[in-house]
Amino acid sequence: MDSSVHLDNVVMRFGGFTAVQKMDLRIHSGEFFSFLGPSGCGKTTILNMVSGFLKPSEGVVRIGGEDMTSVPANKRPTSMIFQNLALFPLMTVAENIEFGLEVRGVSKAERKKASDRLLELVALEGSGTKKVSELSGGQKQRIAIARALAVEPQVLLLDEPLSALDLKLRQHMRTELKEIQRKTGITFIYITHDQGEALTMSDRVAVMSAGRLQQVADPIALYRDPKTSFVASFVGENNSIAGTVVESRSGEVVIDAGVLGKLAGRVTQPIEKGQRATLFIRPESFQLGSGLDFTLPTILEEVNFEGSYLTLNSSAADQRTLSVQLAANQYHEDMIAGRALSLSYNSKDAIVIAGEASDV
C-alpha cells in the first residue's frame, strides 16, 4: 500500500504570521522520517496539517497520492501520538486502545482480541483493566502507541513523544519505536527538537528553522555535509570560523580568516572568490600537534573529562574559543590551563558554507 506523504507547496499562516513557509516535501512510504528543529519552528503545525486539524493556507497535503483537502481529521488514515499523550483518563487501558475500533463498529470480541495483541506488542500484557492513572510514564507512553496503532493507520504521527521521559527510558523507547516501525512497516513522521533522537532513529531528517526547511537528508549526510550554517551549528557541535574566500577550487575553498591565517575546507556548492564564508570544524576533527593539513596555535583554557572522551576549550589567536574532543587515552599531565596547544585538522574534515554564521 502506498502510504507516502506529500506536502505539496504547503504554507501555513496564522493571521499575519507565517508558521510554515512554502514547503515541498515527499515522505516515502514506510519511511521513518523526522522533523528536527528548535521549539516554535513549526513542527507541530506540520503534523496538524497532515492529521487534518489545520487546513493549510496554501498548497495540498497528499497521503498515498490522494488529495486530503476535503477529508476531515476523523477520516484520514493517520494516527497521532500527542506530545502530552492525551490518553482518556476516564477509560480503562483497554477502552483507550479499543476506542478507535469502537468508532469503526468493530465487535466487542474482535476489539478485545486486538487490544490483547497490541498490549503484547508493547509488552504490557494483562494491563487492560487498569486505569490510566495507575500506569507509570513509560507505560502510558506505550499505551499511547498501542492506541494509535489499533486503528491500523497508514501514517503514524509522533509529536515529541519521548520528551516527558527520563534519559534511560527515552533511550530504551527509541529502540522500541524503531522496532515497532520495522515490524509494522508504517510510515512514521517523528517530531523532535532532540538531534540525538532524530539521528539515531530516522531514515531521513528534515531540519527546520523558523518555519523554513533547511535541509532534508539522511543522518550521516546531515552530519557530514550540512548545507546551511544553521544545520552545521544545530546538528552536532561545530566550531565556526568566518573569513573571505581567497581561492576556489573544485570541491574545496580557502578562506582568509584574518589572524588565524588561510584555512581550507570542503564545499558542496562552489563559492566565488571574494565572498564571505564560514568554515566549520567538528570538535572531533582536531588533532593535537601539527601533523595534519592546517595548524592553529591556541592556549588551553579548560579540560573536561567526560568518561570515554575529553573535551578541551582552547583559545585561538583571535580569542575565539575552539572546542576539541579527544579520546580519553589522549590525556596527559601537560594539559593544564594556560599552556600553549597546537591543533591541526585536515581540510577534507572541515566544511565551508557561504555567508557568515551568527555565533550559535
Binding site: N74, A86, F99
Partner: protein, 295 residues
C-alpha cells in the same frame, strides 16, 4: 482538615475561623430551619391557646397537602416543570458552554460572557417583566411572527406554562452555563483531537470524551437550576396564568394571606425534602460525589 488549618493559620486563629463558621451555620441556617420544623409540627393556634391542651406536636399540617388534590397536583406539577426547566436549560446551555470553552477565540468567548452577564445587572423582577411584555398577546413577539407570516393569529404564550418555562430558562441560564463552561474549559484540547484522530465523529466525541469529563459541571448546573426553579416565586407570579400556579405561591399564600405559618412551614419543608431528594437522584444518576460538585 483541622490540622491543615492549624498548620496554615495557627491554633487560635483556626479555632476562631471554625467558631465563626459554626456560629453562621447554626445561627443563620440550622436554628431557623429547626424553628420552621417546629412550627410545621404544631397547629395554628391563637396566642391565648399556646401552651394549652391543643398545643401538641402532630403531622396534621403535612397531611393537609395529601388531602388537598389541588395543592397536591400543583406540588407535582412544580416538580415536573422544574425538571423540564432544568432539561431545557441544559439543552440550551451545553452547546453555548462548549462553544465558549473550546471553539471561540478568547475574544469571542469574552464577548459572549459579557452578553450573557449584562442582562443580569438588571434585577430579576424587571427582567421577568420584560418577558411579560415580549410574550404579551399584543406584544412584539406576536407582532414579529405575524409580520413574518409564520402565524395568522396571535399566540397566547402567557396562558399555559410556556411563559413560565421560557422565563425560567432565561432567568437561570447562567447557573447552568458557568459550571459546564468551567468543566469543559478544563478539558485538555488534545483529548478532543485524540478522539477525532482515532476516527470519532462529533457526536461520539461529545458523549464519550467531553460529556464524561464535564459531568460534575453538568450535575452542579442541573442541581442549581432545579433548586432555583422549584423555589422560584417572581417568574411564575409574573409570567404564569391562574392555571399555572407554582407551589411557592401556595406557600406564600399560607404565610401571608392565610396567616397560617405552621401550615406554610410544613409545605415549605416538603418542598425542601423533594429538592434534597432530587440532588441525591442527580448525583446517583451522574455517578458524582459531593466532592466533585463542590470543586
Amino acid at each position: 482538615m483541622f490540622s491543615q488549618l492549624t498548620n496554615r493559620f495557627g491554633g487560635p486563629l483556626s479555632a476562631a475561623l471554625i467558631g465563626l463558621i459554626a456560629i453562621w451555620l447554626i445561627g443563620m441556617v440550622i436554628l431557623p430551619q429547626l424553628l420552621m420544623v417546629d412550627y410545621s409540627l404544631k397547629p395554628n393556634l391563637l396566642p391565648s391557646e399556646e401552651g394549652g391542651p391543643k398545643d401538641q406536636y402532630s403531622l396534621v399540617n403535612y397531611a393537609t397537602l395529601f388531602g388537598n388534590t389541588i395543592h397536591l397536583s400543583i406540588f407535582f406539577k412544580t416538580i415536573w416543570s422544574s425538571v423540564l426547566v432544568t432539561l431545557l436549560t441544559l439543552i440550551v446551555s451545553y452547546p453555548l458552554a462548549f462553544y465558549m470553552a473550546k471553539v471561540a477565540t478568547p475574544k469571542q468567548a469574552a464577548l459572549c460572557l459579557l452578553l450573557l452577564l449584562i442582562p443580569f445587572w438588571i434585577n430579576e423582577i424587571l427582567r421577568t417583566f420584560s418577558w411579560y411584555i415580549i410574550l404579551a398577546y399584543k406584544g412584539p413577539l406576536n407582532a414579529l411572527l405575524l409580520g413574518l407570516g409564520l402565524i395568522d393569529r396571535p399566540v397566547r404564550f402567557l396562558s399555559g406554562d410556556g411563559g413560565v418555562l421560557i422565563g425560567m430558562v432565561y432567568a437561570y441560564i447562567l447557573f447552568m452555563i458557568f459550571p459546564i463552561y468551567n468543566a469543559i474549559e478544563s478539558l485538555d484540547g488534545n483529548q478532543v483531537k485524540a478522539a477525532r484522530n482515532l476516527g470519532a465523529g462529533w457526536i461520539r466525541t461529545h458523549y464519550r470524551v467531553i460529556i464524561p469529563h464535564a459531568k460534575p459541571g453538568i450535575a452542579t448546573g442541573c442541581i442549581m437550576t432545579f433548586m432555583l426553579a422549584a423555589g422560584s416565586y417572581a417568574v411564575p407570579a409574573l409570567l404564569g396564568s391562574p392555571g399555572s400556579r407554582w407551589f411557592t405561591q401556595i406557600i406564600y399564600n399560607w404565610f401571608f394571606e392565610g396567616g397560617d405559618w405552621n401550615q406554610g412551614a410544613a409545605y415549605a419543608f416538603l418542598l425542601l425534602v423533594i429538592c434534597i431528594g432530587f440532588i441525591g437522584l442527580v448525583m446517583k444518576l451522574f455517578k458524582v460525589g459531593l466532592g466533585d460538585i463542590a470543586r
